[in-house]
C-alpha cells in the first residue's frame, strides 16, 4: 500500500496548500475622519450593477483628496449607482439609485447617521433629495410614480405624492427639484417633456408644464424665480428616433410657466447639466464645453467660458458633471474618462483659470460643497 500512502500524502499536501492560500474578502475596518473645514464632496456613481459607487472628499485649501471615504469611514459600501448628494445641517444625503437607499452621513466624520430604504415606502430607485423644511424632504425616483417624503431628522418615511403620470409611454421619472415659494418643481427626464409642480404645503401635485423639447435633464431656479431647464433632446438614430437629439435651454417663469428663453444647443457628446452660482444670478451649463451666462442674458454666449480639456491629439474630454462652489464661484468639472476607471476632476477659479486637478472614483457626476 505504499502507493496509497504516497497518494494520501500528496492529497494532504494539496489540502495544506489550499487551506494556507484560501482567499477571502477583508472585513473592512472603519477609519476616523475629522473634516472640520470647508470641502467638496464628489459623488462617483460607479458602474451600473457593479456596486462600486464611491464618495470622495476634496480639501480646496490643502488641495488634497481622500477617495472612498464612505467605505473607509463606515466599513460598508456606498452601493450601486450613486446619483446625487446634497448637504443640510451637517448631514450629507446621498441617493444611491440602484441600491434603493438614501444615506445620511455626518459631513465631518463621514459616519452614517441614518438611511431610508425602499421597505415600507414607494421608493424604487431614488434620484434626488430636496428639503422642504427641517423635517420634510422630497425624493424623486427613476421608476416610481410617486415623490416620496421623509423626515431628514429621523430618516422616517412619512408619505408619498402621486405624480399622476401615465405609464403608457415612458417612465414616471422625476429628477431634480427646485423650490420657488410654496411650489416645488421637478423635471421628468425619461421619455417626457414635462415639468411637474407640487404644492409643498399640501404635498400634492397641482399642475404640469410642457416643453417643446424632450427629456429635460437638469433644472435650477434663479434669484428672480425663473426656472432654468436643459433638455438632452432624446435621441435620433438610423433606425429609430425619439425626438431630434437637439438639446434646448429654457428659462421659464415659475409662476406662470411662460417660456421666456428657448435656445437650441449643439448636439451634445457630454452630459448636459446646469448649475448656478451661490447668489443664483449666473448660470453654468455643460454643452460639450462649459458656458456661463447671466440670468438676464438673452442667449448663451458664442464662446465657452471654459473649453473642455483637450489631449495632445486635440480630442475633447467628454464632461460628466459640473459643480460651482457657492462661496467663491470655483467651478468643478468631472471627466469620466472611459467610464471604467478613476474619473478626473478639474477645478477652475471664478475667472475660469485652472487651479487644480485630481483623480476620484469611477464616473464622478455630482458635487456638494461644505
Amino acid at each position: 500500500m505504499r502507493f496509497t500512502k504516497l497518494f494520501l500524502y500528496m492529497l494532504l499536501s494539496v489540502s495544506v496548500l489550499t487551506v494556507a492560500c484560501s482567499g477571502s474578502d477583508d472585513t473592512s475596518e472603519e477609519e476616523s475622519f475629522s473634516a472640520t473645514g470647508q470641502g467638496v464632496f464628489v459623488l462617483c456613481e460607479g458602474n451600473y450593477n457593479a456596486g462600486n459607487a464611491s464618495l470622495s472628499f476634496y480639501d480646496p485649501v490643502k488641495k488634497t483628496v481622500e477617495n472612498g471615504v464612505f467605505v473607509r469611514a463606515n466599513g460598508r459600501k456606498l452601493g450601486d449607482t450613486g446619483q446625487s448628494i446634497i448637504l443640510r445641517d451637517g448631514v450629507a444625503y446621498i441617493a444611491v439609485e440602484n441600491s434603493g437607499v438614501i444615506w445620511g452621513i455626518d459631513t465631518e466624520t463621514f459616519k452614517v447617521k441614518g438611511q431610508v430604504t425602499t421597505a415600507g415606502t414607494k421608493i424604487i430607485n431614488p434620484r434626488y433629495v430636496h428639503f422642504v423644511s427641517d423635517t420634510k424632504a422630497y425624493v424623486t425616483d427613476l421608476y416610481s410614480p410617486y415623490i416620496n417624503v421623509f423626515n431628514p431628522k429621523t430618516f422616517k418615511w412619512t408619505g408619498a405624492i402621486a405624480t399622476g403620470q401615465e405609464e403608457s409611454r415612458g417612465y414616471c421619472s422625476t429628477e431634480e427639484m427646485v423650490q420657488v415659494g410654496r411650489f416645488v418643481y421637478t423635471n421628468c427626464w425619461s421619455y417626457s417633456n414635462k415639468l411637474l409642480v407640487v404644492d409643498a404645503e399640501r404635498d400634492e401635485m397641482v399642475r404640469e408644464i410642457t416643453l417643446s423639447s424632450w427629456q429635460p435633464k437638469s433644472m435650477k431656479a434663479d434669484r428672480n424665480g425663473k426656472l432654468w431647464v436643459i433638455t438632452d433632446g432624446g435621441y435620433s438614430m438610423e433606425d429609430e428616433s425619439f425626438s431630434d437629439n437637439i438639446p434646448h435651454l429654457y428659462r421659464l417663469d415659475a409662476e406662470t410657466g411662460v417660456v421666456e428663453l428657448d435656445q437650441t444647443l449643439d448636439t451634445d457628446e457630454a452630459n448636459v447639466q446646469i448649475e448656478m452660482n451661490g447668489t443664483r444670478d449666473v448660470v453654468y451649463l455643460i454643452n460639450n464645453d462649459i458656458y456661463r451666462m447671466n440670468i438676464t442674458d438673452s442667449h448663451v454666449p458664442v464662446r465657452p467660458f471654459i473649453e473642455a480639456p483637450r489631449d495632445a491629439n486635440g480630442r475633447r474630454h467628454k464632461l460628466y458633471g459640473i459643480g460651482v462652489n457657492p462661496r467663491n464661484g470655483d467651478v468643478y468639472v468631472a471627466d469620466a474618462v472611459d467610464y471604467g476607471q478613476s474619473g478626473a476632476v478639474y477645478r477652475y477659479d471664478a475667472s475660469g483659470a485652472l487651479i487644480d486637478q485630481f483623480r476620484v472614483g469611477i464616473n464622478p457626476n455630482h458635487f456638494a460643497f461644505k
Binding site: M1, F3, T4, F7, L8, M10, L11, L12, V14, S15, V16, L17, T18, V19, C21, S22, G23, S24, D25, D26, T27, S28, Y48, A50, G51, N52, G75, R76, K77, G79, D80, S99, V112, Q115, T118, A119, K122, I124, P145, Y146, R169, Y171, C172, Y191, Q215, M237, D239, E269, P309, D311, A312, D335, V337, D338, Y339, G340, Q341, S342, R359, I362
Partner: protein
Amino acid sequence: MRWLCSILSLMLPLPLLAQEDVHLDNVQVVAHRRLKDVGVEMTKLDTLTLHDNISLSMADILSKHSTVFVKSYGRATESLVEFRGTSPSHTQVTWNGMRINSPMLGTLDFSTVPAYFIDEANLYHGASSINLLGGGLGGAVEMVNKPVEKRGWGVQFVQGIGSFGTYDDFLRLNYANDRLSSSTRIVYSTADNDYKYTNLDKKTDVYDAEGNWLRSYHPEERNKSGYFDDFHVLQELYYKASETDNLKAFLWYTHSKRGLPFLSVDYKDDSDFKNEQKYNTLRSVLQWDRRGDQTALSVKGGYSYSDVGYEYYTTRQEAHTSITNSRSFSNTAFLLAHADWMLSSRFMLMGGADFYYHHVKSNDRSPFHIGKNFDKGRPEYTVNVQARWRPLDAFSLAAVVREEIYKDDWVAPIPALFADVILWKPWNLVLKASVARNYRYPSMDDLYFQPGGNPDLSPEKGFTYDAGVEFAVQKKHWTLRGNVTAFDSHIHDWILWTPNTKGFWEPSNVKKVHNYGLESSVEGSWLMAKALKLTLAANFAWTPSKNVGEQVNDNDASYGKQLCYVPKTSANVNARLQWRTWTLAYQWCHYSERYTTTSNEVNYITGRLKPYYMTDISLEKTFRWRHVECAVKGVCNNLYSTRYVTVLSRPMPRRNYEIYLTIKL
C-alpha cells in the same frame, strides 16, 4: 476546522479498503495522431468527466477541467466562457455541428447546458478553432452527443438533493440494436438557492434606547432572488441505414425560470421586487453521414428557436411598476455539408459549406428605450477548404481557408496554417505550431439594437500564433500525456459597449488587445495496485491580456493594463482515486486576482477581486447486481468554505453539500 476537514477527507477511504474485488478498466493508448489533428491545440473532455454529477452545468465542468476562464454571476446564473483572456463573444460554440451562440449577443450562457446532456466536449484553443468554424478569436467549444454502446434497453435515474433546497433529477431511457439507437434524457433542476452569507458590503447599526449609536456588524443575509427552475429534454435517434450510411437526429428543448440575484449592496426587499428571466429554447439537428474507404460526407440541417423574457417589477400594492420588461425571439435555420477525401495515406482534402439564417425580434421597456429594439433577419454563408499533408512520417502540414459572408458583407478570407513534427517517437513528443488570421463579425445586437446599435461596426480582426509541444506515453502500469503551448494574439477593432450621455450604451470598434501566455496540461493514470487506480489531471494557464488601444484621452490610464475580470493565472487539479467500487474525487482550482477597472487600480476596495482557491471533494460507492447498478455519491463543494466572488457584489455560496443516488438498469 479546515485542518480537521482535510484529515477526515483523507482518512475516509482507509477503512474501506479490501472489501470487495472489482475489475479496473484498461488504460487507453493515447498517442495515435490523425491527419485531421495536425497542429491542433485541443482539450478533450470525455463522458466520465462530463457526467461527474447531475447538478453540474458545462460552465462548472469547463471551470474545473480546462484552462478557460468562466465568468459567472453566481450559481445557475449567466456563465460566460473566455479563452486566453478574450471576450465571451470570441468563444464559438457548436452542438452536434450547429453553432449555438446567441445570434443577438454572440455568446452562449454555459450555465444553461447541463453537462449530463453532452457526451464529449472538445475545446479548440486559438487558431485551432478555425478547423471547426470562423469567428473564434479565443477558441471554440464543440459539444457532441454519442449513441449508447450497450445493446438492448437501458434506464438510468439520478436523484440529487443538496443544500439551499436543491433538487436535481435525471432520467435516461435508451434502446439500441444493430441498426437503431434511441436515447431520451430528461433533466429537472430546481433550487431556492437562498444561501446565507455574511454580507461584508453592508453593516447593521445598533442604537440604544436614546438613539445613540452603539456598534455595527456585518449582517447575515441570504442570496435574494437566486431561485431557479430548469427543465431540459433531449431526444437522440441514430439509425444505421447501411454499412456506409448513418442517420442521426437530435432534439433538445429547455424551459427555464430563473430569478436574477440581487446585488450584495441592494437594500431592496425581494418580497417587494421581482427580477426574473424566463426562456424557452428548442434546438434540432438532422444529420446524414456517408463513410467510404477514402471519403466521408456529412450533411446536416437544423433549426433553433429561443424566446427570452426578462422582467423586473415591483409587487407592492398601489405602486406596482414595471421597471424593465424585455422579450426577444430568435429563429435560426442552418444547413451544412462537409466532405473529407483521403487521397492517400499522406494527403487529405476537406471542404464544406454552411448556411445560417437568423431572424431576431427584440422588444424592451427600460428607462432609455421603449418598444422595438429591432426586427431583423440575417443570412450567413461560409465555405471552407482544408488540405492536410504528411510529407514525412514525422512532419505534417495543414492549411485551412474560410470565407464568410454576412448578409451582403464579405469578410476577408480567414487563413490558417498548421504544422507538427514528431521529435521523439517513444514518448510521442510532438512539436506543434500554427498561425491564423481570424475575424468575428458583429452580433445582431451590436449592429441593430435600438437605441445604441452601430451598423457601421467593422468585424473584429485577430492574428494568432501558437507553438507548443505535447507528449503521450504508455507503460505497463501508467499512462502520461501533457502539453505546453505558448501563444501570442493581437485583436484589433475589439467591439466594446460604453455608456453615452443619454444613459444608454453604444458599441464601437475601440480596442486593441494583446493576449499572450502559456497554457499547459498534464494528465496521467496509474494502476497502483490490482484494484487501485489513480487518475490525475492538471491544467495551468498564464494569460496576460493587455489593452493596447488608443487612449480615450490623456487621463486614460488603461493602456498596457490587464483587461477587466481576466485573471492572469488560473490552475486546476483533478484527482480521482478508484479502489474497487469506491471512487474518491478531489478537485481544486485557482484564479489569480482580477481587476474591475480598466486602469487596474487597487487602491480602493472595489478595484480588484482577490485570488481564490476552491476545493471540492466527493466520495462514491457503487453497488452492482446482475441487472442493476446503484451508486451513492456525496459531494462537498467549497470544502474550506472559502468566501469569494467572481464578479463584484455577487457573493458565491460557501461550503455546501449534495448527495446523489444513481440507479442503472
